[in-house]
């Protein structure tokens, strides 16, 4: 039954601690992976369970000893969780320096959470030329050395196998995104659970569950049409936000969300040297606010995808203080205006309790789209 698998996604998405305890009890070592991208395939191949660490909706207290108030709450809540023991038991955290705030997270982590090792991952922005690919590879080797200190062992054959597992997972997630666009009866909250649970399950388990879900969904008749929207942003997992989407009959027909589809757009190619393949994967990644591209193809991607999926509008969910997204927003706004595509901007953050402003914005947007 579709509902049974959706329940499993929900359970995993809402109880990451329980998931971690389960893996630890099985004698596995957990390595946390911070936003936005990390070499999960490498971590997996070296015998660890990678688990996404994107913080949590919570009040920030201890993180204020390290961060000023104007830094993004995703990063602040990751540190808060670390200090308060929310990630206790994890062996390490891999933090990439893809934005300025992430750079500071790693530096603070060393002093704030001494029992969980900080492993930096330095990606190049000029990632496509050979020298960029070589630098990505050097970054992976740096991660590898740190993981070896924790008892991991690098084996190219194991990495090739992990790449296959991750590529397969990417494929099912892309398929899920596509099929969900044709099933308005799956709510925004349920869609969020499907994506979010991927951070807290092994990819093998998650792939199996998504395949099971998709097979059942395929048999199910599509529900009544709702208002199709494309959602863009870093993180859209706040239950109150998804409730509002559902309340106003909004159906997410595609997403440009860093914690969702952006993770699964690019596969590692098949190559003799799997580490090289992983570096080439990063070189091929694009359409993201933290990946440099002077042409900003992400902007047109949003417009084209909205049109291809028949969306009535675009909702940009802005995580407060996320400057990479704030810069892109202006270009997205212009492109949507040019394409005559309605656009709404709502601001969210991890500390938000009252979503009334979001509700008002989206209610007006709904009225505009249905007028």
């Amino acid at each position: 039954m579709v509902q049974d698998t959706l329940k499993k996604f929900h359970e995993a998405a809402t109880s990451p601690r329980k998931q971690m305890e389960k893996y630890l009890a099985e004698g596995k070592k957990v390595v946390l992976t911070a936003p936005v991208y990390t070499p999960e395939e490498l971590i997996h191949s070296m015998g660890f369970v990678p688990m996404g660490a994107w913080g949590a909706d919570m009040e920030l207290n201890r993180s204020k000893e390290y961060f000023p108030a104007f830094l993004c709450s995703i990063v602040q809540s990751i540190l808060e969780m670390g200090i308060k023991g929310g990630y206790k038991g994890a062996s390490a955290i891999v933090i990439p320096s893809l934005c300025d705030t992430l750079k500071t997270l790693g530096e603070n982590w060393k002093y704030a959470v001494e029992d969980i090792k900080f492993i930096p991952m330095t990606y190049p922005q000029n990632r496509k030329p050979d020298y960029g690919i070589a630098f990505t590879k050097a970054g992976y080797e740096r991660v590898m050395r740190d993981l070896e200190e924790l008892g991991g062992k690098y084996d190219p054959a194991a990495l090739s196998e992990s790449i296959k597992i991750y590529n397969k997972h990417n494929e099912v997630m892309r398929k899920a995104d596509e099929m969900l666009a044709a099933h308005p009866e799956i709510t925004a909250a349920e869609r969020s659970d499907i994506f979010k649970s991927a951070f807290f399950m092994t990819k093998e388990e998650h792939t199996a569950l998504v395949e099971e879900f998709l097979a059942e969904l395929d048999k199910q008749a599509a529900g009544a049409e709702k208002i199709g929207i494309v959602v863009s942003g870093i993180l859209t997992d706040a239950p109150q936000l998804n409730e509002i989407f559902d309340e106003f009959g909004m159906h997410i027909v595609a997403d440009d969300v860093a914690a969702q589809s952006r993770q699964y757009r690019t596969d590692a190619p098949e190559m003799d040297d799997p580490l090289q393949a992983l570096a080439v994967k990063f070189a091929n990644m694009d359409n993201c606010s933290v990946l440099y591209n002077v042409k900003k193809p992400r902007v047109q991607w949003i417009v084209d995808t909205a049109k291809a999926r028949g969306a009535k509008g675009v909702v940009v969910v802005m995580t407060k203080f996320c400057d990479p997204e704030e810069f892109d927003y202006v270009m997205i706004k212009k492109a949507c205006e040019k394409a005559d595509l309605p656009l709404a901007l709502v601001e969210v953050d991890r500390q938000m309790v009252h979503f009334e402003q979001v509700r008002t914005n989206l209610e007006t947007f709904r009225d505009m789209l249905t007028f």
Binding site: F67, E107, K296, F327, D328, V330
Partner: protein, 419 residues
């Protein structure tokens, strides 16, 4: 109506013209010429580049490409009181007021193409280097889109390790030559190794003199007011690869040495205490931030911000490593150690931290680093909220209270020491 009482006309002392042989005159001229030269080049149909402040100047200088520095322009605009007006232009286009105020001012200028407080030549190419922040990438991407001109990206990632790795040197070197070739192709320019050698010579000469001049704060009292450095720094940003910059910096060094010998200083008050200032200056409130210190006899003798623009090296590899080691590209430990050295070398008694709303990277691990510096140097630390260019993010009252607190602790420490 009451008759208007005529106030006696204030008699202003005529300003003594600056001695053309003085460092102040020379440096001021180089700084203002930097804008004028690019405007003149543009009039003559020559290409102009907008360049980020820690981009290797050796590239445009060797190629003979006219340059303008948006950060320098934004600082000038903010210091002359137009920061808020320009920020609001960008905000009206959808830019969040959370975004770096330099970027907002620059994006506003790209739209308006004029600002009487500081005009610059419009660019034909953008030279971006993110060794100061990744915000720079997004800012220049948008400039490139808005102006429809090419952008050359020299990526120098934040280094989480203490030393620069060979892999990073190879990566940046590859980009360095790519940037050169792209500029050659775009504008028909030609790289000349001899010219490059000459430029690196000028750049190092300027940097050496600058770093030695700032190091004169080792003397008590310091032969200069640290706020002077904030003004002179413009030359380090815009012209460090020029011969006349080296000559002017050597004059500055000579003057500071002479001041020390004569027991003089450009700090026009009794130097009761010495602090290190952390962060970019609050350009809209330069006078207020300076006065708050000077009125209490506090001299800001050193700041990493000034030294950030001094690049001294003996080889190509060392040059690349120097650009990989600018203050915002290095980890907490290396950042901390550099500051501890400055504090100790310059007999600093307190640390005043500007929590700069515009700069997430600079402010993001400052709390932990300041704690470590304060502990190691046994000095009090205080911070205030401000902004490098948006006046809405600064409160003079808060600044004054914080500086007073710092002053009182330094007074008390001094009394205990003397007792």
């Amino acid at each position: 109506m009451a008759e208007e009482v005529k106030k006696p006309e204030e008699v202003k002392k005529p300003r003594k013209p600056l001695d053309p042989n003085s460092a102040k005159y020379k440096l001021g001229k180089i700084a203002s010429d930097a804008f004028a030269t690019a405007i003149e080049a543009k009039k003559q149909g020559k290409p102009v580049a907008w360049v980020s402040s820690n981009f290797p100047v050796e590239i445009p200088e060797t190629l003979g490409l006219a340059t303008a520095y948006p950060e320098n322009q934004a600082a000038g605009i903010a210091a002359r009181g137009a920061g808020e007006r320009m920020c609001e232009v960008a905000e009206a286009d959808g830019y969040s007021n959370d975004i770096c105020a330099y970027a907002r001012i620059s994006l506003a200028y790209a739209k308006l193409k004029e600002c009487p407080e500081q005009d610059v030549a419009m660019p034909d190419v953008l030279l971006c280097c993110n060794n100061i922040c990744n915000c720079m990438i997004k800012w220049y991407e948008n400039l490139s889109q808005e102006l429809g001109i090419p952008m050359i990206m020299l990526d120098i990632p934040f280094n989480p390790d203490y030393e620069v790795s060979d892999a990073q040197v190879a990566y940046v070197t590859g980009q360095f030559w790519d940037a050169v070739h792209q500029l050659e192709d775009l504008f028909g320019l030609k790289w000349d190794d001899d010219k490059f050698q000459q430029v690196t010579g000028f750049s190092c000469r300027t940097s050496r003199a600058w770093l030695e001049a700032t190091a004169q704060a080792k003397y008590i009292p310091s032969p200069f007011n640290g706020f002077d450095l904030l003004n002179h720094m413009a030359v380090m940003v815009t012209a460090r690869g020029k011969e006349e910059a080296g000559e002017a910096m050597e004059t500055l060094l000579k003057e500071y040495k002479q001041n020390h010998e004569k027991g003089e200083s450009t700090f026009r008050a009794e130097e009761k205490h010495r602090v290190m200032f952390e962060g970019i200056a609050c350009w809209p409130y330069l006078r207020a931030t300076s006065r708050g210190l000077k009125d209490r006899g506090i001299n800001m003798v050193t700041t990493i911000y000034a030294d950030a623009f001094g690049f001294d090296y003996n080889s190509f590899d060392e040059m690349i490593r120097a650009y990989c080691s600018v203050p915002n590209a290095i980890n907490l430990e290396k950042s901390r150690d550099k500051r501890i050295k400055l504090c100790k070398d310059n007999h600093v008694e307190g640390l005043l931290v500007h929590t700069n709303r515009s700069c997430k990277l600079w402010s993001g691990f400052m709390a932990e680093m300041s704690r470590q510096i304060g502990k190691e140097c046994n000095i009090p630390v205080t911070s205030f909220d401000g902004d490098q260019a948006d006046p809405r993010n600064f409160s003079e009252a808060q600044y004054d209270t914080r500086v007073q607190g710092l002053f009182e602790i330094m007074e008390s420490n001094k009394e205990s020491k003397e007792a």
